[in-house]
């Protein structure tokens, strides 16, 4: 892998130059508690210590609402609305979110590629950024705390700048076209990188691995913890909307007011909604809140074969944004009590 360094003094210019490669989106503080990834005009507003945004990066590739077809009802005619996506730059993605996009790639590109997603993915430039975990993070347990591919550049914090891993041809291009911004990595940078990684590992609340958690979960599905926790749940779906890998969507035809035209739209759906498990005739495969509650735990911890990880990337969003204070991580820790890894 190619490594370069950037000094803090040059970061502002670097962020400015990123705009040459596409519309720049980066985390910005929007309230006391929350950040959002917004289009950046003034690069000084970019937050470097944002751990999670209110909407995960999936929204840039699978928008919450999108029009698939324009329909001419009278002539039963329809045409697709596939548009070329202008290049855009997502700055400040952490490892978990980059793995999350790789999981979405597996779903959206591996078999029956989704052209809408593919176009956006091709247009997106990913600039990763290292982070220090808070009490919600458990990407170490899901083995998604470090990412090998899926980014153009990945910036690792150093005392006086960043060590950059160059991860793609586009990443090389950015480095090659801006030689004035980057320097060689020195011995003290490598030491600082190692120290950062060590410090980072020590900040996680739990150690070990969640590789076995999906089986423990299956074996403890009848435990009363699930009744108690499901009882707290409001069924609002925040956990799935803020999850970087949740991707259930619904499709509907929405007629215009004249009744002659319609749009086929798709929009985010959630397995926490009662309608999700409904089939024709009114049978519901997940009739109770507990069924829906457990479904999310099972689905998130299911094995994602192409990557060898679970669908959960350990970001902690579902817990952080839960209005009922349901703690995904602590619930999983609770059921595997007895394993002191």
């Amino acid at each position: 892998m190619r490594y370069v360094k950037i000094y803090n003094e040059k970061m502002q210019e670097f962020l400015e130059r990123l705009k040459n490669y596409g519309k720049l989106y980066a985390p910005v503080k929007i309230s006391d508690k929350f950040y959002d990834r917004k289009e950046i005009d003034d690069v000084k507003k970019i937050s470097f210590d944002c751990l999670r945004t209110i909407m995960p990066a999936k929204k840039f590739f699978i928008p919450p609402y999108e029009e698939l077809f324009e329909i001419d009802i009278e002539n039963a005619d329809y045409k697709e609305k596939i548009e070329e996506t202008e290049p855009f730059v997502l700055f400040g993605l952490h490892a978990c979110e980059i793995v999350a996009l790789r999981i979405l790639d597996g779903v959206y590109l591996d078999e029956f590629p989704d052209i809408y997603y593919a176009n956006r993915r091709k247009a997106g430039i990913i600039i990763g950024l290292s982070c220090l975990p808070d009490e919600y993070c458990f990407c170490n347990l899901t083995r998604t705390d470090f990412v090998d591919i899926g980014f153009e550049l990945f910036l690792h914090e150093l005392p006086d700048g960043y060590l950059i891993r160059v991860g793609s041809p586009k990443g090389h291009k950015i480095v090659d076209e801006n030689p004035d911004l980057f320097s060689e990595v020195k011995k003290e940078d490598i030491d600082a990188f190692k120290m950062f990684e060590e410090k980072r590992q020590k900040l996680f609340k739990y150690y070990g691995s969640f590789d076995n958690i999906r089986y423990i979960l299956e074996l403890t599905m009848k435990d009363k913890i699930w009744d108690e926790e499901a009882e707290k749940c409001l069924g609002c779906g925040n956990c799935t909307m803020t999850c970087p890998t949740c991707r259930c969507y619904d499709v509907q035809d929405i007629p215009d007011i004249d009744g002659k035209h319609a749009k086929r739209i798709r929009f985010w759906d959630s397995c926490q909604f009662r309608s999700h498990g409904l089939v024709a005739g009114g049978h519901n495969f997940r009739p109770t809140k507990k069924d829906r509650f457990l479904n999310r735990y099972i689905c998130k911890n299911a094995y994602f074969y192409p990557l060898g990880t679970s669908y959960c990337v350990g970001c902690g969003n579902c817990t952080y944004f839960c209005p009922a204070n349901i703690n995904f991580l602590e619930n999983l820790i609770e059921i595997r009590r007895g394993i002191n890894a």
Binding site: L68, F69, I71, D72, I73, A76, D77, Y78, E80, I82, V107, Y108, E111, F112, P113, D114, I115, Y116, A118, E218, M221, C246, R247, C248, Y249, D250, V251, Q252, D253, P255, H261, A262, R264, R266, D269, C271, H276, L278, V279, A280, G281, H283, F285, R286, D291, L294, N295, I298, C299, A302, Y303, F304, Y305
Partner: protein, 276 residues
């Protein structure tokens, strides 16, 4: 990568409509581009009615019928109700076929016990007719078909023709016979037919299609008759929105019913929570 979207239906025209009951009709469709559907028995298509929406519906005809295909539609949701308002010559959109159908190669030489409940006859008929069109390749063909009441019997004429054939056995039942209706056959749920027939559990495969509640009872009764779990094949129902493993509506644990199914061997899914 092709620029053709997986969500774009191909137009098809309704060639014929056979009304079975107040809410169920059989629609014969021809693809406008004349490319055959090329489906396997047990697969499904996504049917679009523009401006109303799209719904997953199993193909009811055998692929041996090449120039057109049939779907049996119960008017129960937005799309299916709109479907019933269409006339011969009207157009619908078709995507698919999707999923894994019945393994017609594997079943060769085996005795097949078809068990259908209600609308479950629709997907099962694609396999029944396939087997009848290749009759010599298969062993015994036993059909058990149950519905709620005599007037709800689907494919009535075809069922009568099956009963007349010497090379198949066809047994019918209804849950009850309302006053004023005539019925010469068994009364009781479809499971009550199972003890009445003889079959060899080692050579027989049961292929089961019906409402979710039926599966539990049928499977229990089949096992009581000595049928091994891996000799039970069934088709699962889910509200597949995309058919291509994306929308998540048919996901059970790591399995996508639209891709890995809808046809499953019972032994594959029996330990999967909420599969049945």
């Amino acid at each position: 990568m092709s620029n053709e979207s997986i969500y774009l239906p191909r137009p098809a025209t309704i060639k014929n409509i056979t009304k079975f009951t107040e809410s169920e009709s059989l629609f014969e469709l021809v693809m406008d581009d004349n490319r055959p559907l090329n489906h396997q028995p047990g697969q499904f298509v996504e049917v679009s009615i523009m401006g109303i929406g799209e719904a997953p519906i199993s193909v009811s005809s055998s692929p041996t019928k090449k120039k057109s295909f049939e779907i049996c539609v119960r008017a129960v949701g937005n799309v299916t109700r709109a479907m019933h308002r269409l006339k011969i010559g009207d157009k619908v959109g078709i995507r698919g076929p999707f999923g894994k159908g019945f393994d017609t190669e594997f079943l060769k030489g085996k005795d097949i016990l078809f068990i259908a409940g209600g609308l479950g006859i629709a997907p099962l008929r694609s396999l029944i007719n396939y087997v009848l069109d290749h009759r010599a390749d298969y062993g015994r063909a036993i059909i058990l078909y149950g519905c709620k009441a005599p007037h709800e019997l689907l494919f009535r004429e075809e069922v009568i023709s099956w009963r007349k054939r010497k090379d198949i056995e066809c047994h019918l039942t209804v849950d009850k016979v309302p006053e004023g209706e005539h019925w010469d056959h068994n009364v009781g749920v479809v499971t009550t037919l199972i003890p009445k027939i003889d079959f060899n559990p080692s050579t027989t495969y049961a292929v089961v299609c019906g409402p979710p509640i039926m599966y539990r009872f049928v499977i229990r009764t089949l096992k009581e008759r000595g049928l091994a779990e891996d000799h039970i094949i069934l088709s699962l129902e889910r509200r597949m929105k995309c058919g291509v493993g994306k929308c998540g509506h048919c996901q059970i644990n790591g399995i996508y019913v639209c891709q890995d199914g809808p046809v499953f061997n019972y032994s594959e899914i029996k330990d999967l929570p909420e599969a049945l």
